[in-house]
Amino acid sequence: MKENNINSGRVQKAPENFLNQEGIRTVFAEGKSGRRDFIRNAFAAAAAGAAVPAALAQGNPVPTEGGDPNILNLPEHATGLGQGVASNNGYGVPSRFESNIQRRQSPGLTQTTQASVSFAPLQSLFGIVTPSGLHFERHHQGWWDIDPSKHRFMVNGMVKKPMVFTMDEIMRLPSVSRFHFIECGANTAVDWGNVAVPTVQYTHGMVSCSEFTGVPLITLLELAGADLKNGKFVLAEGGDGSSMTRTIPMSLITSGEVLVAYGQNGEMLRPENGYPLRLIVPGVQGVSWVKYLRRVEVGDQPYAAKDEAVHYIDLMKDGQHRQYTSIQECKSVVTTPSGGQVLLDKGFYNITGLAWSGRGKVKRVDVSVDGGRNWRQARLETPVLSKALTRFNLDWVWDGKPAIIQSRAQDETGYVQPTYQQLRAVRGTRSIYHNNAIQSWLVQENGEVKNVQLS
């Protein structure tokens, strides 16, 4: 599908609700009385006209001719000679049948492609690692492919000696490799007020997870003789046109967690992700992971950079903005089944999804299929790593009736992912950033899954 076929008009803001007053009362009353039917009735309108489709028939019937032609007639690939090694200029690419799996822009979200976002296709990914070519993108002033032999990294400010390093020198230092998630502070922002986009790619696709390789920033600060006691804040600065700047707390750097990274999933960073050097700030929103990193400066005060004084500030109900909100709190989402998908039939499904926390490891994930009335604990798949995506799975037999699927994560600090109701009670609906509310997916009787909020 060509991107330019997408209607590029601004997406209409969803009104406050799509049920009429009577419908709302029904949902409320039946929800209270605990009748499972409430979902079916509440969404009767949404599913109106939806006859039981052919999809609900047996998925893999024996053809009348007594066998599957895909078995009976041997295909070309079973009877011919395949292709040779090192094709595609020596760099393998996904199967031609995987061309639907792309990172995509959300139509109407931004007016230019250089100050914009593309979302990772979470609905189609497995495990915890995001393939580098599908990693979400956020650029403020376009991306560059920078000659690494000309890239320099500077340390200055409250240091004994300001220093510069070449890439050769940085790559000679002792390195570490760690899996971490990166999530844009504005991930899920469009759904703060109400449902605005159809699929998990657009609701949650500004999160990705990679194995990053690099040098702990503390190593470089120590080389320059940084004042680690009075230098409580470090400014990180990019080398591109936007020269993005963000304030990083020294306490996080001295813990050894913050990396100056050049590696991503076994190869160098992709240009769209900051080649040849970017900052890794585990648990903190993506805007702090400065790309094309050219400089860090040690200081004794925060910097109030554009992206911590105009953007990436969270508006509260009283008109005050929370400044320097950085941690991505515990969050999870079911990626399958999720919005825009169609269940093929009644019967067994593996509900699967992702959980993460900017404060450490994910401790448990619970899943509900009845809109949050009853929950079952999901299986956490290994590895379960600190400040990394964690994959969860749960067995589910779909009876063909409407269901609302949710996931709720808890991290090792004991913090439990909030509901929309809880989050809005303290922050209102206008804070744009840091929406980590429990996501709901409505499975309709016709098998189609819809993004829904029922709070």
Binding site: M1, N4, N7, A14, E16, N17, F18, G23, V27, F28, A47, G49, A50, A51, R96, N100, Q102, R104, P107, T112, T113, Q114, Q141, G142, M154, K161, M163, P198, L223, G225, S242, S243, P249, S251, G283, E297, Q301, A304, K306, V310, L315, Q320, H321, R322, Y324, T325, S326, I327, V342, L344, R373, N374, R376, R408, P418, E448, K450, N451, L454, S455
Partner: protein, 357 residues
């Protein structure tokens, strides 16, 4: 070895020894001292206490000239435009300047939030204009131009009078008039350190309930039907195989969901012809796409629209690219573009032929 070469070698050894002494013993030979010239070139940040602010000044009047030449085509003559980026100016009052709180921020019915409504620190404006503006030519403004443009913006918001000259000497006084200077709080638990002495506990406290939990739904929201296909056909955004397939949103819901195994095979990606590919690469290289979409209007007309109007007129288009202009597509002026003749010709030829992808 000549005595000259000996001297050079000795000097080099002395220099190396000096370097080794100055750095940590742990990783000998890695990194070197940054020269003052290098630090001066890169260390351009300006903090809220104005550390890093270079001495200088600039007037509102000069700022207006710079603004109209370099900024207005994206941000509007009065910084009010939200065509490309969020509006910069608007929404603040004389009372806000007194209180340091922008009253409109607590109104849920106020449309949009401008930069001047949000920003608490004038240093942020100076720093950002200096480092990242104009969008397509960052770091090309002189220090005087940065002071001037900052002054002009502040005058649009009535923070400073029209005849004001902003300088490093009076910027601290201007800070005391910033409309939202008291509008920030660090009383939250989302900073990963204790530097701001924020809240110790997160602001929500959900608990784990497993059975008969009352969701008490108050309202529900779903995407309206007309938005079902607004992000394109969702069948094309899911894998061909898997436990769920994508919904075919190009057709009405529930009518003909494809049966398993009958999904259409993946259409191979459309081949882009090489001439278009080259021209589009040039558009990106010269930042044309900052203002013109290939198939849609941004600030200026889409290339498809230009192609329609000026089909076959490659020479005319080369002239327009190089000299700029206004009036053909609306009042927003296009500045003259400095790009190699060959590139301008290639772009013009591509547009004249229909601006295909």
């Amino acid at each position: 070895m000549s005595s000259f070469r000996k001297i050079i070698l000795t000097a080099a050894l002395v220099a190396m020894a000096g370097m080794a002494l100055a750095q940590s013993d742990k990783y000998p030979g890695l990194g070197r001292a940054a020269t003052p010239k290098e630090v001066a070139k890169w260390d351009i940040d300006v903090r809220p206490d104005f550390k890093g602010l270079p001495p200088g000044s600039g007037s509102v009047a000069k700022g207006q000239d710079v603004w109209e030449a370099k900024c207005a085509h994206c941000h509007g003559i009065f910084g009010e435009s939200n065509e490309v980026f969020s509006a910069l100016i608007g929404g603040t009052t004389a009372d806000d300047i007194k209180t340091g709180h922008v009253a409109n921020l607590s109104r849920t019915d106020f449309p949009g939030r401008t930069t001047i409504m949000k920003v608490a620190t004038v240093s942020t404006l100076w720093d950002y204009i200096n480092r990242a503006m104009p969008w397509t030519n960052p770091k090309t403004l002189t220090t005087e131009e940065v002071y001037s443009v900052t002054a002009f913006l502040l005058s649009l918001a009535n923070v400073v009078p029209d005849d004001f000259v902003l300088s490093d000497k009076n910027i601290a006084e201007v800070q005391k008039r910033m409309p939202n200077r008291n509008g920030m709080t660090t009383a939250h638990a989302m900073w990963p350190g204790k530097e701001f002495k924020g809240a110790a506990k997160p602001d929500t406290a959900n608990t784990i309930c497993m059975k008969d939990c009352a969701p008490e739904p108050k309202h529900a929201s779903l995407l309206p039907d007309f938005a079902r296909n607004a992000h394109g056909n969702l069948a094309d955004q899911n894998r061909l195989v898997g436990q769920q397939h994508g919904a075919d949103t190009s057709r009405p819901e529930g009518k003909a969901t494809p049966a398993p195994g009958t999904a259409a095979p993946a259409a191979p990606r459309t081949e882009v012809n090489n001439e278009s590919k080259g021209a589009i690469a040039l558009l990106n290289k010269h930042s044309c796409t900052a203002c013109h979409g290939v198939d849609k209007k941004v600030v200026g007309p889409g290339f498809n629209e230009i192609a329609k109007k000026h089909s076959g007129k490659a020479d005319y288009l080369v002239g327009k690219i190089k000299s700029g202009g206004s009036g053909v597509w609306g009042p927003v002026p296009m500045p003259p573009q400095s790009l190699p003749e060959a590139d301008a010709k290639a772009i013009a030829a591509w547009i004249a032929k229909g601006a295909s992808k």
